[in-house]
Structure formats: structure tokens, C-alpha cells
Symmetry: C2
């Protein structure tokens, strides 16, 4: 059995309170006893039981994170950022997959509650009224990651999706493209769907460029077939010269489709993605994309949650982190 504080006390011939003290307030113990205790701890390789401690302190130094699907490469760096920040701040991460499913989400929130996590990192999905209600009820600190809520006062960390999409389209327009297509997420997705679509529309309007519904193809973010989307878009708008996709994964799927159909990128069609996942650096051709600072988003989110947990003042409720355009080889200039 694992040694407990009792075993240490017995071995060091002191009371358990003294053992507790050398761990929590070493200065209040006389040196002679302190060394005896320290030796006993060393000999038994004693480590305090975090459950017992958590019961008293009401802190578990554990954070719960919900993610739609960890297989999506987008989350790899976010989690890495969270992990590094957590290690630094002394937290462990319980990671859960929701598949964007309400029941799974609620089930995990319940687990978090029972396990007394100190806070929750909620990723990507929108916050619906009943989600908010549940979160309120649980009464645990939350920060939204790569998503946010305008209706509710919930802290969040994300980029400016509308502006980012606008910048992508503006880049294409500045490169001489006029007939631009987009593979977008469903507009029902208020975070990655609607906003990026709006950025597209704003840029097109601003430059007085016409576009029809056929220029855009909508798909479900968490249940999509990039190939099918690419095919659909091409049937509807075969003469676009550039396509903006709402994610790099879509862009890579699109390029794969184009390659199969002997359409060259960027000679025949320029492609610009969104996210800048690792893969976009080794795709063929290398992908031009809107880069999100995924690692920083994850890192910052944990810091922000930590601040909330510690009751520190949290200056900005809805944090916007900068995006940037990374120009690689999948887009080209069109000289009229």
C-alpha cells in the first residue's frame, strides 16, 4: 500500500500534524524534527494524496477540456499550448471529445463537476442557451477557446474570424482574382461558419465584385467530406479562379480533388486555406493560408482560466488574438 502521512509520522516519531507542517509551513518546525521527517519522507518515498488534499482545499489543480474531435489537426497545437501552460501553472488536463454532441458534452461537464475540476476549457462550438444555463448551474470557471459568446458574459480567446476571412479574400482580390469561390461551414455555426462567410461577403462587396450563391458551398464542419464539397462547388461554379476554404483541411481535400481532376494549383486555380495547421507546410503545393496562433490560443486560454480561478482581475473578457496571412505556393498572381 502507498505510504500515508501516518507512516511518515510513525517512522519519524512525531505526530501527523508535524509531518503536515514540514510540508506546508516548514519554518514552524524545529530543525531536529524537520530533518527527521524529511528523512522519513525520503525513505518511504512519501507523496501526499491529492484526493485528501483536494477535499480540504477544494482545489484539484485539474482542468477539464472539451473538444469536438481531437482527431482534427486543428486542435493538436491548441492542446499543446494548453499543456505547456498547464504544466507551468501546475494543472493537469482532462481531455474529452464531444463530437459536438449535446449529450456527450453534458455528460462530460457532469464528470468535471463530480471530479471537482478547477475550471473548464470549452473549445470551438457555439454556446447555446441551455449550455450556458448548465455552465451557470455548475458554477465553475470557464473560458471559451476559439469560440465566444456575445449574449453571455463568458471569457474567451479567439481570432477575429470575420476580419481574417476578409483578409483572405482581399488578398485574392489584390492578386487579381475576380471570380472567387468559397467552401464555407454551415451558417448555423455562428463561430467558424457565419463569420468567415461574412468576411467573404464584405470583401466582395467592398470591391464591387459580383458573386452568386453558386460561388459558395456550405458544409457541416464536423461531419464533412471535403471531396464531395469540392465536387459540388465545381459543378456549380466551374469558372472560379480562386477558392477560399474555411479550413486547411478543406483546402487540402480540395487540392487533392483538383489534382485528381487534372486541375493545377495554382496555375489553374488558386487555393487559400484557414488555420495554418502543420500539414499546410508540407502539402503539395504548400498552402497559402490564414494563420491562427493555435498554440498561443491554447496557452493563453489556460492562463486566462487560471486568472479566473485565482480570482484575479481579468482585464479583457473577450480576447482577440492576431491572425496573419501566410503566403505560400497555392495561390498566384493574375496579370490581366
Amino acid at each position: 500500500m502507498k505510504p500515508t502521512i501516518k507512516d511518515v509520522a510513525k517512522l519519524a516519531n512525531v505526530s501527523i500534524s508535524t509531518v503536515s507542517r514540514v510540508m506546508n509551513a516548514p519554518d514552524t518546525v524545529v530543525k531536529s524534527k524537520k530533518t527527521r521527517v524529511l528523512d522519513a519522507i525520503e525513505e518511504l518515498k512519501y507523496k501526499p494524496n491529492a484526493l485528501a488534499r483536494g477535499l480540504i482545499y477544494k482545489k484539484t489543480h485539474t482542468l477539464g477540456v472539451v473538444i469536438p474531435d481531437i482527431r482534427n489537426a486543428y486542435y493538436a497545437d491548441i492542446i499543446r499550448g494548453m499543456e505547456d501552460a498547464s504544466k507551468k501553472l501546475g494543472y493537469s488536463l482532462i481531455i474529452c471529445n464531444t463530437d459536438s454532441d449535446r449529450n456527450r458534452l453534458f455528460s462530460y461537464l457532469n464528470t468535471f463537476y463530480e471530479k471537482q475540476v478547477d475550471g473548464i476549457l470549452y473549445t470551438s462550438n457555439p454556446i447555446y442557451p441551455d449550455y450556458y444555463k448548465e455552465l451557470q448551474r455548475l458554477n465553475m470557471p470557464v473560458v471559451l477557446v476559439s469560440t465566444h459568446s456575445m449574449e453571455y458574459e463568458l471569457p474567451s480567446v479567439k481570432i477575429d474570424d470575420e476580419q481574417a476571412a476578409y483578409d483572405a479574400i482581399k488578398f485574392l482580390i489584390d492578386s487579381g482574382h475576380r471570380n472567387i469561390g468559397m467552401i464555407s461551414f454551415d451558417l448555423s455555426d455562428s463561430i467558424a461558419g457565419m463569420t468567415r462567410y461574412q468576411g467573404f461577403v464584405r470583401a466582395m462587396r467592398e470591391y464591387n465584385l459580383e458573386f452568386s450563391k453558386d460561388n459558395i458551398c456550405f458544409i457541416n464542419e464536423f461531419d464533412h467530406d471535403p471531396y464531395a464539397a469540392a465536387e459540388e462547388l465545381f459543378k456549380k461554379a466551374p469558372d472560379v479562379t480562386a477558392i477560399f476554404t474555411a479550413s486547411d483541411i478543406l483546402a487540402i481535400g480540395l487540392m487533392s480533388y483538383l489534382h485528381e481532376n487534372k486541375i493545377r494549383v495554382p496555375e489553374d486555380i488558386s487555393v487559400i486555406g484557414f488555420d495554418n495547421i502543420r500539414m499546410s507546410r508540407t502539402s503539395i503545393p504548400k498552402l497559402t493560408t490564414i494563420a491562427q496562433p493555435m498554440y498561443d490560443i491554447g496557452h493563453r486560454a489556460v492562463e486566462k482560466l487560471h486568472a479566473r480561478i485565482s480570482g484575479e482581475e481579468d482585464d479583457i473578457l473577450r480576447e482577440i488574438v492576431p491572425h496573419e496571412i501566410v503566403v505560400r505556393a497555392s495561390t498566384r498572381l493574375i496579370v490581366p
Copy 2:
């Protein structure tokens, strides 16, 4: 504050033991009280505190998983498999990144110990004597995932790496290739390095094919630059007709390098990878590869760990799961 069992007891006008009973042995409580308690629980939205329970049961229903680097796409499906199995069996997963660093690993093992996880999933890295010693000392159930140990009696789940590599080379040979190169992990990596290299050697020998040291380029798995590796191999062995890489990520990096240097795949050079990560389905060209059942490995590992935790008989200590070759577009037949 969160409601406790006391609050429920008070509201239902029974003792806390009765409340405890309706949760753990409902049949031993008379209906009238039971409904009163259930109503109180419902009204207060009471959920038992897992810390308190864990303290008594000495079970936390939490598993610790260590992974070299979660950004590596290889782990995405493994974790997904673990996640699904965990949900099914009632576990939560604490996921940690070690960067294959001893100190980080030991630090996390320590956290696992303090947090009283029920078991540990140890991924990919070899088990060194001091790791084993530490694992022994902690005295927690462990299962090795995509790695194993011949020296120690540790349960594991993985494919037969040597045979898998052999199959890859055999496939190339059967396709008419004679001058075959390999980008391998360092031989100091006894799991993914040495074994796959040995599979390569065995196949070449078996078919009486000559190969020199120049046909192989070794790199560090967790700190590599696929480009540099590709370049190095090409300088040393420019006339290979096919290359086997120890991972899909290496293969994709290699194809990117080849594309930049106007070497066509598979027309000029065939490429076969290892793993079958998602990306290999959308690479250009689509990658021929040795498929590991990552999801199953993760899933099975959790089941196996659960069996150990529950003290069930665990038939096979070192489980080997089947691999298969997935032929796509990055390899071609050579007709002499």
C-alpha cells in the same frame, strides 16, 4: 457552494447514510424514504463528490496517459480510441506530453501517483531500466501502447513493426524495385527505429538485393526535419527507385521535397510510408503505406488496462495487432 450529502439528508429528513444507500444500494431503502431522497437530490441537483469517494474506494476512474508529443498526427486516432473506450468503461483521461524527456516523464508519473490515477497508458517510447524501476515503485497498473518491453513483464499493445517493415519492402520488391532506400528512425529507438530497419534488411537479404549504408538515412523521431532527411538521402543514393519511410509524416515531407525538386512520385520514385495517418489519404499523390490500426490500439490498450485494474486475467501479455498494406498512388510497378 455545492450541495453535499448532508444537504440532501437534511432536505429529505433522513440520515446521510440513507442518502448514501439510495445511491449505492437502492433496494435496501423503503420506497417512501427513497423517493424523498431522490426528490431532494433532484431539487438540489446533487452530485456526489468524486474526491471523497475516491478516498474511500481507492479508485478515481481516471487514467494517466503519457505521449511524446500530441502534435504528432499519429496520436490523434490513438487518443480517440482511448477516449471512446474510456467513456465506455467510465474513465477520464489525463493526457500529458513528455517530449520524450525523462524529467517531464517522471514529473508526470509523480502527478499521476499523487492524483491516484487507476492506471497508466505509456505511449511509444522504449522502457529504460530506470523507467521500469520508477513504474515498479509507483506500483500502478501500466500498459504500453505502440511500444513494448522484452526485458520486463509489462503488458503492451502494438503491431509487429519488423514484419510490417518487411511487408513494405517486400511489396516494393514484388513491384519490381531493386534499388530501395529508407528513411529510418535512429537505431537507438528500439521500437520504431531498430525493428523497422531490421524488417528492411531482412527483406532485402531474402531477395539477395544489395544495399549500402548510403541507402539509409537515420533521423531522430522526435526532433527531425523531414526535408533535411530527404535531401541527405538523395545526395547519398540518387538512383533509388523507391523509398520506404518509417512514418507517413516522413513520407509526406519526402514527397514535398521531391515535388520541389521536380522529381515525380510515383513516376520517378515510389514512396511508401508507415502508419496510415489521416493525412495520407489526401496527400498528393495519395500515399501507399503500412496501416496501423491506431484507433484500435488506443481502444484495446484501455480495455487491457481496465482488465489489469479490475484484476481480471489478462490472457496475452504482449498483444500484437494486425497491420496491413494500403496501396494508393505513391507507388508504381516497374516492368523490367
